[in-house]
C-alpha cells in the first residue's frame, strides 16, 4: 500500500509509509471496535433466538441494530469509578493492556490473500504470543481492584489461560508443520481450491486437532463454558466487578476482538482462510489476473474470511447460551487430561501421516493446487537466486545437488549423511 501512495500519489516515501500505516491502523481498529459493536448486537440476537425471544427490536429499527451503539453512548456517559482500595495506576491501565493486546494481534492476521497489515514471517507465532499477553489485563485488573471477587477471577484467569496455551500451541503447530511455514498468508494460499484442500480435512488427525483447537481457543478467550474469570453466578463479575463505564467496555471490546481473532485464526489454519469451498475466482481466472478483477477476487476472499470468522464467533455464542459453566478444577482437568493428550496425539498422528507420505485430501483429483506450489515468496526468490548462482558455476557431476531452501533441503542433508562427509 505504501508503494501505491509512493508511485500513484507521488508522496515521499516516509510519508507514504505513514499514510499506509495510519490506514492499516484505522482499518484494524474498525475490525476490533465496530466488530465488537456488531458482535455484541449479534450475541443479543443469537441469544434471543436461542431463548425463544426476539432480542433488541426498537433502537435503530426492526432489528435493533443500533442497540449496541446506544449502550456505548450510555457507557461513555457513565461515571468512571475507582474504588478507594484500588491500586490507582494499575486499575486505570489494566483495560487498555487487554485491548491493546487484542488489537495488536490483528496486525498479523490476513483478511484475504495479501491483505494483511504487516506481512510477517512468524505470523502464527506472533498472534499466539500477543494473545498470551492479553492475560495480564484480567490479572492486573483483578489485583488492582482491591476486591476479593476480582482477585479470585484474576487467579482463575491466570491458571486457566496459561494451561490452555499448551494444547493451543500444540494444535497450531500442526498446520504450520504440514505447510512448512509460520506465515499465515502462505498457509491460507496452500489451501486454495476445493474445500477438500482445507487443512481440517487433510487427514483424520488434523480434523481432531481442529476441534481441539477450537475448544482451547474458546477457553483461552474466556468464553462459556470456560468463562470462569468472570463467572457471574459465583464471582459476581470476576475481574471486572469494580469497573464501570468506558473502562469496562474496553474489556468487552477486547473479549469480542479476541473471539473473532481466534475464530479467524481457526479459519485460516484449518478451514481454508479466504478460499471458499468452491474456488469460483480460480475457475473464473480472476485470482490470477490483475487490476480490478484481482481486487474483486480478493474482496470476495475477504468476505469469505469474515463469514468464516463470524461463523466461529456464532458457534461460541451458541455454546455459551446452551451449556452450564464448568468448575475451575473441571476446567483444568479438561485441559490437562483431555485437551493436552488429544492435541499431542493429533500432533504425532499428523506428523506420522506427513513423514510416511500417506495420502491426504490434497492429493484428490480435481481443482486444487499442490501444497508446495504455494511457498513463501522469499523461498521461491531464494530458489531462483540459488538456481542462477548454480548456473553461473560450472556444474560437476560429483557435486551433491543443491536443492531449494526449505522443501528439498533435507535431500542435501540426507546425501551428506549418506556419503559420511567423505568428499
Amino acid at each position: 500500500m505504501a508503494e501505491f501512495f509512493h508511485t500513484t500519489c507521488s508522496l515521499p516515501t516516509p510519508l507514504a509509509y505513514l499514510v499506509a500505516a495510519i490506514i492499516h491502523c484505522v482499518l484494524i481498529i474498525h475490525v476490533v471496535a465496530v466488530g465488537a459493536l456488531i458482535f455484541i448486537w449479534l450475541e443479543r440476537k443469537v441469544s434471543g433466538r436461542i431463548q425463544d425471544r426476539l432480542g433488541p427490536t426498537r433502537v435503530g429499527g426492526a432489528f435493533g441494530w443500533l442497540q449496541t451503539l446506544a449502550d456505548g453512548i450510555k457507557l461513555i456517559a457513565k461515571e468512571d469509578i475507582t474504588p478507594k482500595d484500588a491500586d490507582w495506576m494499575l486499575f486505570k491501565a489494566a483495560p487498555y493492556v487487554g485491548f491493546a493486546a487484542s488489537y495488536c494481534a490483528y496486525i498479523a492476521l490476513p483478511f484475504s490473500d495479501g491483505w494483511v497489515a504487516q506481512h510477517m514471517n512468524t505470523a502464527v507465532f506472533f498472534i499466539l504470543a500477543v494473545l498470551g499477553i492479553e492475560v495480564f489485563s484480567p490479572i492486573l485488573a483483578g489485583y488492582a481492584s482491591g476486591s476479593k471477587w476480582s482477585l479470585f477471577g484474576a487467579m482463575r484467569e491466570a491458571a486457566q489461560v496459561v494451561s490452555y496455551e499448551v494444547p493451543l500451541g500444540m494444535c497450531v503447530v500442526v498446520p504450520c508443520m504440514i505447510c512448512g511455514t509460520l506465515n499465515l498468508v502462505t498457509i491460507g494460499n496452500q489451501q486454495a481450491g476445493l474445500f477438500t484442500n482445507w487443512l481440517a480435512f487433510n487427514d483424520p488427525f488434523t480434523f481432531v486437532v481442529a476441534v481441539v483447537y477450537f475448544t482451547c481457543a474458546t477457553a483461552s478467550v474466556n468464553r462459556a463454558p470456560f468463562d470462569l474469570a468472570e463467572a457471574e453466578s459465583e464471582l459476581v463479575a470476576g475481574f471486572h466487578t469494580e469497573y464501570s463505564g468506558l473502562r469496562w467496555s474496553f474489556f468487552f471490546m477486547a473479549e469480542y476482538g479476541s473471539m473473532f481473532l481466534v475464530s479467524g485464526l481457526a479459519a485460516i489454519l484449518f478451514f481454508g482462510g479466504w478460499n471458499g469451498p468452491i474456488p469460483i475466482f480460480q475457475v473464473l481466472g480472476w485470482s490470477e489476473s490483475d487490476g480490478v478483477l484481482l481486487y474483486l477476487a480478493r474482496l470476495g476472499g475477504c468476505l469469505n474470511f469474515l463469514l468464516k470468522g463470524t461463523i466461529g464467533v456464532v458457534v461460541m455464542m451458541w455454546v455459551r447460551w446452551t451449556l452450564p459453566r464448568l468448575r475451575i478444577d473441571q476446567v483444568m482437568t479438561t485441559c490437562l487430561k483431555y485437551c493436552v493428550p488429544i492435541a499431542a496425539f493429533g500432533f504425532l498422528g499428523a506428523l506420522f501421516w506427513q513423514v510416511n507420505e500417506l495420502p491426504t485430501s490434497n492429493d484428490l483429483p480435481g481443482i486444487g493446487i499442490n501444497r508446495f506450489e504455494a511457498r513463501e515468496s522469499w523461498v521461491i526468490e531464494a530458489d531462483q537466486q540459488r538456481a542462477s548462482r548454480a548456473a553461473a558455476v560450472t556444474p560437476s557431476p560429483s557435486d551433491v545437488p543443491i536443492g531449494p531452501i526449505g522443501s528439498v533441503e533435507f535431500d542435501r542433508v540426507e546425501a551428506l549423511v549418506m556419503t559420511g562427509g567423505a568428499r
Binding site: T122, F125, L140, V162, E165, E376, V413
Partner: protein
C-alpha cells in the same frame, strides 16, 4: 526536504529504546512489587520491539511468548501468592541506594565507553536497505539451524573436523531441552502439594 531525510528505522529504534530503558528505570525506582512486575512486562515487551527492528522476528515473538507470556505470568503468580500487605512495598535503605547507584553508574559509564569504542560497531550497515528479503526472514533458517543445516552458511567451506549435518545447533538444542525438562521436574517437585504426616512420620 526534511521528510526525505526521515528515517523510520531510527525513529522506531528511539521509541522502543526509550520505552525499554524508561520502564526499566521506573521498575528500579518503584517500591511496590506489583508495579515492578508491570513495568518489567512493559520493558521486556518494548525490547521485543527492538528485536523485531533488528530483523530477529522469531526471537522477538519468542520473547513475547515465553518471556512476557510465560515467565512473567509465573512471576506475577509468585507475587500474588506472597502478596501480604507488608511485602508489597519494601523500602530500600538510602545507604544502599547511594552505594548501588554509584557502582551502577560507574559500570554504566564503563559499558557505554566500551560500546562506542569499536569503529565497526559504531557506523551501522550503510547497505541495510539493500539486504534482500530472503536473508532477512530468519524463521526457517533458525528452524533448519536447529536440525543441523546452516542455511546461512551453505557457501562457507566445509570444516572437515565436523560431522556433517551436526554442525548446527542440534546438540545445544537437545541439551537445553533436557535441561528445561529437568528444571520443570525440579520446580514441580519443590512446589508440590501439601503433605500431611502423622506424628510417626508416615505420610497420611
Amino acid at each position: 526536504m526534511l521528510l526525505a531525510a526521515f528515517d523510520w528505522h531510527s525513529l522506531f529504534f528511539m521509541f522502543f529504546a526509550l520505552l525499554t530503558c524508561g520502564f526499566a528505570v521506573a521498575m528500579l525506582f518503584s517500591d511496590n512489587v506489583v508495579h515492578m512486575a508491570f513495568y518489567l512486562i512493559l520493558s521486556l515487551g518494548a525490547s521485543a520491539g527492538l528485536f523485531f527492528l533488528a530483523g530477529a522476528e522469531f526471537v522477538g515473538a519468542m520473547q513475547l511468548m515465553i518471556y512476557v507470556g510465560g515467565t512473567l505470568v509465573l512471576l506475577i503468580f509468585g507475587v500474588m501468592l506472597t502478596a501480604q500487605s507488608r511485602f508489597i512495598s519494601m523500602k530500600t535503605r538510602s545507604g544502599e541506594w547511594v552505594m548501588a547507584l554509584v557502582l551502577g553508574g560507574s559500570l554504566l559509564f564503563l559499558l557505554l565507553t566500551a560500546a562506542f569504542r569499536v569503529e565497526d560497531w559504531r557506523d551501522g550497515n550503510p547497505n541495510a536497505a539493500d539486504i534482500g528479503i530472503a536473508e532477512s526472514k530468519t524463521t526457517t533458517q533458525i528452524g533448519m539451524g536447529f536440525t543441523g543445516v546452516r542455511v546461512d552458511r551453505l557457501d562457507a567451506p566445509e570444516d572437515s573436523t565436523l560431522v556433517p549435518g551436526m554442525s548446527g545447533y542440534l546438540l545445544p538444542f537437545v541439551i537445553v531441552s533436557v535441561h528445561l525438562l529437568v528444571v520443570l521436574v525440579g520446580a514441580a517437585y519443590m512446589a508440590r502439594t501439601k503433605r500431611r504426616a502423622t506424628s510417626t512420620g508416615a505420610a497420611a
